[in-house]
């Protein structure tokens, strides 16, 4: 019942949004849906709801973890959105001298509706235990989020939307091929029908044909990896995450990439149960390292701060894949913990970037100076976010990265450890250079008098709270979170 | 001995009927009266009685060209099987000799065209050779598909049904026949590759090459063209309709009927299609090669 409500509430509210004319009512529906979704997710921690539809939808520990992240992020984004959408012009135009900001916006009802359907699709991805439904839900997230990217209507966001739509659809089609390969692996010898529910597959996993299973995993890696942002299938990510409105970027980077990672983890679970974990872990670690290196190359010298954040997402997704790929209890635990930390931090950073974009009307780092004097709250958020995302103590990201790297050393992967460390250093240097220069310096006056920009509470409070959580997690890990993380890493085949 | 004689004489006599059939079909489609069915025989008779005119810029190459062309086509006839009977001179690997004899003929005709020193014939010769690159590729590929299936590199070995364990499925035979047909259209200068009736000089391929020949030389060239049509037609027919039973007269009758039916089809194709743009002809032939590769895959996958 709880699970059904988790999916149905956003769906119903989303369809209601398309029919509602009044803007204020639309925003109210959005907030109500976000709050109720968060409440239901919180209660799932206490109640541990059983599966429905014969086990097609169920909440295991991995799912609970990602559900909480998604719900929390959506809550933060929707409160931020209240303020953002109020100030963004709906049918007016704003233009700077280079003609860069000449755009229209889509109607807000459509935006809110797609946002809620996006939440519903992501929830379905997290809850589904049937691999077929998982596929359908991942494709639905692509379709629900494409109009969101195209909210600010101009040529660059259209280009980003097209790349996103095409690349992710093609990737997900390859993942469908992986689904079929898996089905062949299960039935080619026995010719008996096999249930595609995860638990059943895992129990039958030793009877799967190895060649077909490996082919299936490769297809899943390429397909869901494209959605997750693993290089070399990541090329849509910088464009889509930088061109969409900031709250959408926060959700894309923080929640959607996690959902794709979850889909990949389900495939990994099957490989582990079939005894092919060495194969799948090797591939995951390889793609993870490659993504980190590619991201580091593009972060150094990056001039656009939203693209910088997007490439940072690629790097962190690579780190997650690497953590799971290394194996061993510590790294997998660290990777899952890092998923939590990264999502919260990246969302906070993107929300802050929205404020910067609206104030300075430019996405170039060089054009933004003097955040600490002009917009102190956002500037503080920006600097704190920088330290959080690059893994500085006492933030939680430090702990999680440390765990992943320790695990890599313990597993004897010295070369990969070395590459990781180099990449992390390079990324820190690149990001700090770009982002700290934005905070410092004198801002260029655009009007008479030295006035601080008006910073509404809602524009920085969600981000601030998210970073506070990350800080808290870094200093003290609560027992209930620790237990869920342990269960989740056990389910991924990590030895305790 | 008699067999050798009939093997050559029969096509020599019957082949000139084929262009007549094609022209008559085209005329019917166009609502015209059209030339006689036996027109080519009358043309050959007329040309043999005429004298030849040779330009002062030509050398012995020009005089040799048509003769070698005709001779090479005749030699190919001796390698071609018919129904259930092996060719008079079959041996393992003769399919390569088959293609190369045809190539030799083409080489001599194009050399004769270049020998005239006229840029117009040279243009025709260059186009002819350019498209021959692709048509020979397709031709070789499809022959190799059939040969690999039969395990035997002799043309007679390929087409004798029941030879070895090779009996390609219907799909493979249909695809091979399609490729042979496309090669036929290309090699015999038929639409959509080349318009045999065009009087626009810039669009000619074959016609411009042989423009300077006259008298018996021209007769040999026309006769050799008809024989080439016969050869390729026989290949198409034997892939689709492998005739095994019946004595020699029964098989001969069925095969002749099939070849004339194929000539009718060529006539229909010519009437229905327009000529391809010159740059699309290599694409057309590469498509035929790709179909040959698919046919190979299908024959392996049975």
């Amino acid at each position: 019942m709880l699970l059904a409500a988790l999916v149905l509430i956003p769906v119903l509210c989303g369809t209601a949004e398309f029919l509602v004319r009044d803007v204020r009512l639309g925003r109210l529906i959005l907030i109500t849906a976000a709050v109720s979704h968060a409440a239901l997710a919180a209660s799932a921690w206490i109640l541990s709801p059983p599966g429905i539809f014969g086990g097609w939808l169920a909440l295991d520990s991995l799912g609970l973890l990602f559900l909480s992240i998604t719900s929390l992020l959506f809550l933060a984004a929707s409160f931020y959105g209240l303020n953002y959408l109020k100030h963004a012009p709906v049918s007016g135009k704003t233009e700077d001298e280079e003609g860069e900001f000449f755009f229209l916006n889509a109607p807000e009802a459509r935006f809110n509706g797609c946002l809620l359907l996006f939440l519903a699709a992501m929830t379905l991805v997290i809850l589904s235990q049937h691999l077929g439904i998982l596929w359908v839900a991942v494709e639905m997230t692509t379709l629900a989020s494409a109009p969101l990217i195209y909210y600010h209507r101009h040529t660059r966001s259209l280009e980003a939307t097209w790349k996103y739509l095409l690349l992710c659809s093609v990737g997900i089609a390859v993942a469908l091929l992986g689904n079929f390969f898996l089905s062949v692996a299960a039935t080619i010898e026995t010719r008996k029908p096999v249930s595609f529910i995860l638990i059943d597959l895992m129990s039958e996993a030793v009877y799967l044909d190895v060649m077909w299973l490996k082919a299936a995993f490769v297809c899943f890696l390429v397909g869901y990896g494209a959605k997750m942002g693993l290089a070399p299938m990541h090329t849509w990510l910088p464009d889509a995450h930088s061109e969409s409105p900031s709250m959408v970027s926060a959700l894309l980077s923080g929640a959607l990439l996690n959902c794709a990672f979850l889909a990949l983890l389900r495939a990994h679970q099957i490989c582990v149960a079939a005894g092919q974990s060495v194969f799948s872990r090797g591939l995951l670690a390889g793609f993870g390292i490659f993504s980190m290196v590619i991201a580091a190359i593009f972060i150094l010298g990056q001039k656009d701060y939203k693209r910088l954040l997007a490439y940072s997402s690629v790097e962190h997704m690579g780190l997650l894949a690497f953590g799971v790929g290394v194996g061993g209890g510590v790294s997998v635990f660290g990777a899952l913990f890092h998923a939590v930390n990264h999502s919260l931090t990246k969302a906070a950073l993107f929300l802050a970037s929205g404020n910067i974009l609206r104030a300075y009307q430019s996405k170039i780092c060089g054009h933004v100076k003097g955040l600490s004097s002009r917009m102190p709250a956002t500037g503080f958020l920006w600097a704190a976010g920088l330290f959080a995302i690059t893994g500085m103590p006492p933030f939680g990201t430090f702990m999680s990265k440390l765990m992943i790297l320790t695990g890599a050393l313990a597993a004897g992967k010295y070369l990969m450890f070395g590459i990781c460390l180099t990449v992390l250093t390079a990324v820190f240097w690149g990001m700090a250079r770009a982002m700290l220069t934005m905070v410092q310096g004198d801002w260029i006056e655009i009007g008479p008098g030295c006035v601080r920009d008006r910073e509404p509470v809602l524009s920085f409070l969600p981000g601030f709270l998210l970073l506070l959580i990350v800080l808290g997690l870094g200093m003290m890990m609560p027992d209930w979170l620790d237990q869920v993380l342990r269960e989740a890493s056990l389910s991924l085949g990590a030895l305790p | 001995m008699v067999k050798l004689f009939i093997w050559i004489a029969a096509p020599l006599v019957i082949a000139p009927l084929l262009p007549g059939v094609i022209n008559r079909v085209k005329a019917v489609f166009a609502g015209r009266q059209g030339p006689l069915l036996l027109q080519l025989y009358f043309d050959l008779w007329k040309l043999f009685r005429k004298g030849a005119v040779f330009s002062r810029t030509t050398t012995w190459v020009f005089r040799l060209g048509p003769a070698v062309f005709f001779a090479s086509v005749l030699s190919v006839l001796w390698l071609l099987p018919f129904g259930d009977f092996r060719a008079p001179f079959s041996f393992n690997g003769d399919l390569i000799v088959f293609v190369y004899f045809l190539g030799l003929g083409r080489f001599m005709v194009t050399s004769a065209a270049l020998d005239t020193g006229s840029s117009f014939e040279g243009m025709g010769a260059s186009r002819e050779v350019q498209f021959a690159v692709f048509s020979e590729l397709a031709f070789f590929l499809v022959l190799c598909v059939l040969a690999a299936g039969a395990g035997n590199f002799s043309i007679s070995g390929i087409f004798r049904p029941g030879q070895g364990a090779f009996c390609p499925g219907l799909m493979v035979r249909v695809l091979a026949a399609v490729v042979f047909f496309e090669v036929l259209l290309a090699e015999n200068a038929r639409l959509p590759v080349d318009d045999p009736n065009t009087h626009l000089e810039l669009t000619m391929i074959h016609e411009s090459m042989i423009l300077d020949h006259s008298g018996p030389d021209m007769a040999f060239i026309l006769w050799a063209h008809a024989l080439k049509m016969w050869i390729f037609g026989l290949l198409v027919v034997q892939v689709i309709v492998p005739v095994t039973a019946g004595g020699i007269w029964g098989q001969a009758g069925v095969t002749l009927l099939a070849i004339f039916l194929m000539a009718v089809i060529v006539g229909i194709v010519e009437s229905v299609m327009a000529r391809l743009k010159l740059c699309r002809i290599p694409v057309f032939l590469l498509g035929a090669s790709a179909i040959a590769v698919v046919a190979y895959g299908l024959s392996v996958m049975r």
Binding site: M140, A146, P147, Y150, L165, L166, L176, V184 | M171, L286
Partner: protein
């Protein structure tokens, strides 16, 4: 009969590679959709209501609705009906032959221990998927990229119908619905692209780069 359908699908993939007219490509993709739907009927071991319902849905969607959506996009944008390739048609045919051989090799390796299983569905399905990917990569216009995506989906779906065991009807319909929504959204975006940029050449969508 199944053999014939697969061979026709193979040939349709080859034809798609060399075709320079957009409406021609569209009709080939529509024919592919109808063939895939027929495959659903002939492939089933015990034909019943479920099989006919699925087959009818596939034929309706892949054979008529998707091509109609794409042709609507072509008509509304008023783009020229010529496919503009990065890779020429002759080279595309050569690539097609290479893809076919690669698909055959993959099928052979995957099916080594299973002699009773015909490699044709695996080969043809993988070949069609590779052709679809190639069309997405090697053609300029956004509309032809949608056609390539449809071909990719046709190949993968046909493979699934043949080789994979029966999925629940809900999942199959979900897959079809997803592809429908994807093509629908793609059609809308293509229209917006034409309106914003005044061209559909994805090779020129290079404003976002590093």
């Amino acid at each position: 009969m199944i053999h014939l359908i697969w061979v026709l699908l193979l040939l349709s993939g080859l034809l798609l590679l060399g075709s320079s007219r957009m409406m021609h490509c569209l009709r080939i993709v529509a024919a592919q959709g109808i063939l895939v739907g027929l495959l659903a009927v002939f492939q089933a071991e015990c034909p019943g209501l479920r099989v006919f319902l699925l087959s009818a849905t596939v034929i309706a969607l892949k054979g008529f609705v998707f091509p109609w959506l794409v042709s609507r996009a072509i008509r509304q944008t008023g783009t020229s009906r010529e496919v503009e390739p990065f890779v020429g048609y002759g080279a595309s045919y050569v690539c097609g032959a290479v893809f076919f051989m690669a698909a055959m090799e993959l099928a052979k390796r995957l099916l080594i221990p299973y002699h009773g299983v015909s490699p044709l569905p695996v080969t043809a399905g993988l070949f069609l998927a590779m052709v679809g990917l190639f069309i997405i990569v090697s053609r300029r216009k956004a509309v032809t990229q949608v056609l390539g995506y449809l071909t990719l989906e046709n190949g993968i779906y046909a493979f699934g119908l043949s080789m994979a065991y029966e999925e629940p009807l809900l999942v199959e319909l979900g897959v079809l619905l997803d592809v429908f929504a994807a093509v629908f959204v793609m059609g809308i975006i293509v229209f917006h692209i034409q309106r914003e940029f005044d061209h559909m050449d994805t090779g020129r969508l290079t404003a976002l780069r590093d």
